[in-house]
């Protein structure tokens, strides 16, 4: 039951091969059995899931089922779910039962999907290894000694381990694409503004974007069909029609121009990885695409710019976690300042504190111009690199990460080396562009991701390319040993 794609489950439910309750039950059992190893879920919600599955089966019996009716999935524990614990991977929200649904969650509920639970993540989505979660590190199903990537490591590991066919995720600097690459699955971060951020707990508001993690491009298209769209509750959400992403999956790519940024094939990139990525690009050439080397000259500035802007925004976004109205509150506070200080000291982990402090510093009087303002100016240069590039090419391709999954603990004591993990992914968030990661090979039996970067609102094109590649290759069907 477990090695099925969303498309397959939707077809088989429709054909009456099994019920939603049956597949839900099967996956819940699998989670119960295997997840103690991976730790990919923070909260599993069997009761709610079975109730949703039962309702879905009834809807189907009444002839009112849609494509998503009864299909199981999971939400990253950064999306608020009404009546369900929503921790964001932090001790701070260890007691926070959200009183409302995120728009993304409402959308899946309305479509009839069955939510199995809430997946693990780096605390407040800050991390690239899923080691900063208060609820324990997540293991990479390909090698339990290694990290699954982050921050959406729980969603990635759950999908790779076939605990769930698809999961929502978020990407602020690579948090969908990097774990997708490290776990050998498919992940897409849409254009900024394509998916509502209402109810998605903010890390860095101008960079955060909800997306999906699945095993195939087709499944990602199906999920994005549910998630994408204008939401009047999010002022940064774009009011623009959403195409049917599944309708263009098989479009021809004949004559398409692929840009390969020379900066993405630099010394930072493991040569074995580079070889896999180039081989994948060659696959597209076989299908009629043309390849052109391009330059994104400000690539090297993306990480420093990100580590000014994201911490600055997070330093304000996390101020509401003050122990006053919800969340962790220290015992016996002496006064209000003591309440703030100790609640926050206890509630936040080291990486979160580090970013709050960096951001607070960058915004301080006398430093604002040199850091925040300068970073915003450079951000524009980075965006312009892409705007220029897309005048010449239709899509940009490159690696997702410099190396395959690294060992747990390897980078925890060196934050900067951890930050460099996102060297190829972060620029997209700064530019607001859509990006996707698909499995395109292995190095030392660890998955390698191919990054596809599209122009604004070209998610359909990326999914089309991903699908064509997955029709021609079987990298996406490879699974960690013993899991299929």
């Amino acid at each position: 039951m477990h090695n099925k794609t969303i498309a397959q489950i939707a077809r088989e439910l429709a054909a009456g091969e099994y019920s939603s309750v049956e597949i839900t039950q099967a996956l819940l059992s699998r989670i119960e059995q295997l997840d103690p190893v991976y730790n990919s879920f923070i909260t599993v919600t069997p009761e709610q899931a079975l109730a949703q599955a039962k309702a879905a089966d009834e809807l189907r019996a009444a002839g009112q089922a849609g494509i998503w009716t009864g299909v199981p999935m999971a939400h990253k524990d950064i999306f608020c779910t009404n009546g369900v614990l929503t921790t964001c991977g932090s001790r701070m929200l260890g007691n926070f039962v959200a009183p409302y649904d995120a728009t993304v969650v409402s959308n899946f509920n309305a479509a009839g999907a069955v939510c199995l639970g809430k997946t693990n993540l780096d605390e407040f989505a800050m991390g690239s290894s899923n080691e900063s979660s208060f609820y324990g590190a997540v293991k990479n199903p390909w090698d339990l000694e290694r990290v699954p990537g982050g921050s959406s490591g729980g969603s990635a590991a759950a999908v790779a381990a076939r605990l769930v066919p698809g999961a929502t995720a978020t990407d602020t600097g690579g948090s969908i694409r990097q774990p997708a690459a490290l776990c050998g699955i498919t992940g897409i971060k849409p254009t900024y503004g394509r998916v509502s951020r209402w109810g998605m707990i903010a890390y860095a508001s101008s960079l955060d974007q909800g997306g999906v993690m699945t095993r195939t491009s087709e499944d990602a298209a199906m999920m994005l069909n549910v998630m994408a769209g204008f939401d009047p509750k999010d002022s940064t959400c774009v009011d623009r029609a959403v195409p049917d992403y599944t309708a263009t999956l098989n479009d021809s790519i004949e004559g398409l121009t692929i840009g390969l940024p020379k900066e993405y094939f630099s010394a930072d990139l493991d040569p074995a990885m580079a070889q896999q990525v180039r081989a994948a690009v060659a696959e597209f050439e076989k299908m009629g695409a043309k390849v052109k080397e391009i330059s994104l000259p400000n690539t090297h500035l993306a990480i420093p710019v990100y580590y000014v802007i994201a911490p600055s925004e997070c330093s304000a976004n996390l101020s509401r976690m003050d122990g006053v109205r919800f969340g962790h509150r220290v015992a016996d506070p002496k006064d209000i300042n003591d309440l703030y200080k100790r609640s926050r000291s206890e509630g936040f982990g080291a990486e979160v504190k580090r970013r709050i402090m960096v951001g607070t510093y960058a915004l301080s009087a006398g430093f604002y111009d040199a850091y925040y303002l300068k970073a915003q100016q450079v951000r524009r240069l980075i965006k312009n690199d892409f705007v220029e590039a897309f005048k010449e090419v239709d899509v940009i391709m490159g690696p997702v990460t410099p190396t395959p999954a690294f060992r747990a603990g390897e980078k925890t004591s060196d934050p900067v080396s951890m930050y460099l993990e996102d060297i190829f992914t972060i620029a997209l968030n700064l530019a607001g562009l859509p990006g996707m990661s698909i499995p395109c090979g292995t190095v030392n039996n660890l998955p390698v991701g191919l990054q596809l970067i599209g122009n604004y609102f070209e998610e359909g094109r990326l999914l089309n390319l991903g699908h064509k590649f997955q029709q021609a290759t079987d990298w996406h069907q490879q699974a960690p040993a013993g899991l299929v």
Partner: protein, 487 residues
């Protein structure tokens, strides 16, 4: 040494929108604690603000009313500080790109001159909640009903030179925002609050002295008193050769003094940055013109019209135009009777006295403007004399009548106030009075010609006593004629 006082005001006016500036929760005052605070106002994880366009419209209206530059691209910023009644840990406000730029208003000084006070800027922001320190033992309660109420913060140039000028400026702003209908102006509910920046410098010195800021003063009278006491405090320090410390102070109205706030209550680095959850607000000339078309006649224009078109004195016009509701009342009366001066005398006389006596506002007065207009019509056509008119007015004010204009005429009848102007009838009464008071008549006739005008007074009183409601002018004419016939 002679000192010059330098004052600048920051006025916070709550905008009269139905819902909050970034959420759909109601802004109504006085509800049970925390019943008008939604997830956005509570700052729950994951919530996002959506800007209320009505607040924008009102702010633009204000900007146009003070002849200000309107920000075609305004930007919301986050002002970061921790306080329990600030749910998000930052206030959303506008720092570098406010909705309203440089403007001005004119205030009237005691000597009758007008002084222009420039407004630096006015920006939109959200109000905080309230901390409640009573009834929770050693703890404090938080009421977030007010959190997210839209405010426009109006910042003046430091151009006021006395506490009186500052109070006049505050009054004028109050008058403008209530005329515009963008603020209910209820000072007791905190709808308008004022921070006063005060400094002193030796007369003739160009540089400003060190200033202090008196926070949250909420009445016209207290603005004047708070500033007066702060001027005195600073002057005492400076005269003694001391230094003023730049600080935030609170005014204690009971003791009539300002005191420094504890340093803990003063945050110093707000780490402003543009709010990434809100897009810049872009408006064009069409939008501005559409708002301009909704501007009512403002107090200055009204005052000017009262003087130039209707011949009122500048002082009367000032009083009658300052308050929107009073001005509307006055104009209805004046239009009904078609006599602005008579209406002005009544509104500033009996109407104001009645409002003061009953401690009510013009909206609560039982005498409608149409009714008073009718009463004044009856004075003008000699149906009522002044005393009778007052009696009718007072009767209405005490709740007599049915609220209609028609009831005036029946009240005049039933109260027997109709004035007797019939000369024949009056001659008969006068004859009776003269016959009954022979000694007085003798005395009058013995009075030299040039003093008789005064000596006629007692006869008038006697006639009016004998017959209520006689027209005094007719009485005078008849008396003079009869007495002159006698000698």
């Amino acid at each position: 040494m002679e000192w010059e006082v330098v004052i600048g005001l920051e006025i916070h006016a709550q905008l009269a929108t139905k819902s909050k500036i970034f959420s759909g929760a109601s802004t109504e005052f006085g509800a049970d604690a925390n019943t008008q605070a939604c997830a956005i106002d509570l700052g729950l994880p994951g919530v996002l603000p959506v800007f209320n366009e009505e607040a924008l419209r009102m702010a633009v209206k204000f900007g146009l009313a003070i002849d200000a530059e309107i920000g075609k691209r305004s930007v919301f910023d986050r002002k970061n500080y921790f306080y329990p009644d600030l749910p998000k840990g930052y206030q959303t406000t506008q720092l570098h790109h406010p909705i309203v730029g440089k403007g001005y208003i004119d205030i009237e000084l005691d000597n009758g001159e007008t002084k222009r006070i420039n407004v630096t800027r006015a920006h939109l922001e959200e109000d905080a909640g309230k901390s409640v320190h009573e009834g929770f033992g050693a703890m404090s309660g938080i009421d977030l009903n007010r959190a997210g109420t839209p405010l426009v913060e109006i910042v003046s140039e430091p151009e006021m030179r006395s506490a009186k000028e500052a109070a006049a400026y505050f009054r004028k702003m109050h008058s403008i925002v209530t005329y515009l209908g963008i603020c209910d102006g209820d000072l007791s509910q905190g709808s308008m609050r004022c921070d006063c920046n005060v400094s002193l410098r030796p007369k003739g010195q160009a540089e400003f002295g060190t200033r202090t800021e008196i926070k949250n003063v909420n009445s016209f009278r207290n603005v004047e008193r708070a500033i007066e006491s702060e001027i005195q405090r600073q002057m005492d320090i400076l005269e003694d050769g001391g230094r003023i410390i730049q600080e935030t102070r609170l005014y204690d109205a009971d003791k009539n003094e300002t005191r420094g706030m504890r340093s803990k209550e003063v945050a110093n680095d707000y780490r402003y940055f543009p709010c990434p959850d809100l897009l810049p607000v872009i408006i064009d000339d069409d939008y501005i013109d559409a708002v301009r078309a909704t501007l009512p006649e403002l107090p200055d224009a009204k005052r000017k019209r009262f003087v130039e078109v209707h011949g009122l004195s500048s002082v009367d016009a000032g009083v009658l135009s300052a308050n929107r509701e009073l001005a509307a009342y006055f104009e209805t009366v004046a239009e009904t009777v078609n006599d602005y001066k008579l209406a002005a005398n009544w509104v500033q006389g009996d109407v104001s006295a009645t409002l003061n006596r009953l401690e009510i506002s013009i909206a609560e007065l039982a005498v409608s403007a149409e009714q008073l207009g009718r009463i004044l019509q009856l004075i003008k056509d000699n149906t009522l004399n002044n005393g009778g008119a007052k009696e009718v007015f007072n009767a209405l004010a005490e709740g007599k009548g049915d609220g209609s204009v028609a009831c005036i005429d029946s009240l005049v009848d039933s109260m027997g106030l109709k004035q007797v102007s019939d000369t024949g009838a009056i001659e008969a009464i006068v004859a009776e009075v003269l016959a009954a008071n022979a000694k007085l008549v003798e005395g009058y006739l013995a009075t030299p010609e040039d003093k008789r005008a005064k000596a006629i007074g007692p006869f008038i009183g006697l006639v009016r006593k004998a017959a209520k409601g006689v027209n005094p002018q007719v009485v005078m004419d008849v008396l003079q004629k009869k007495l002159n016939e006698l000698g």
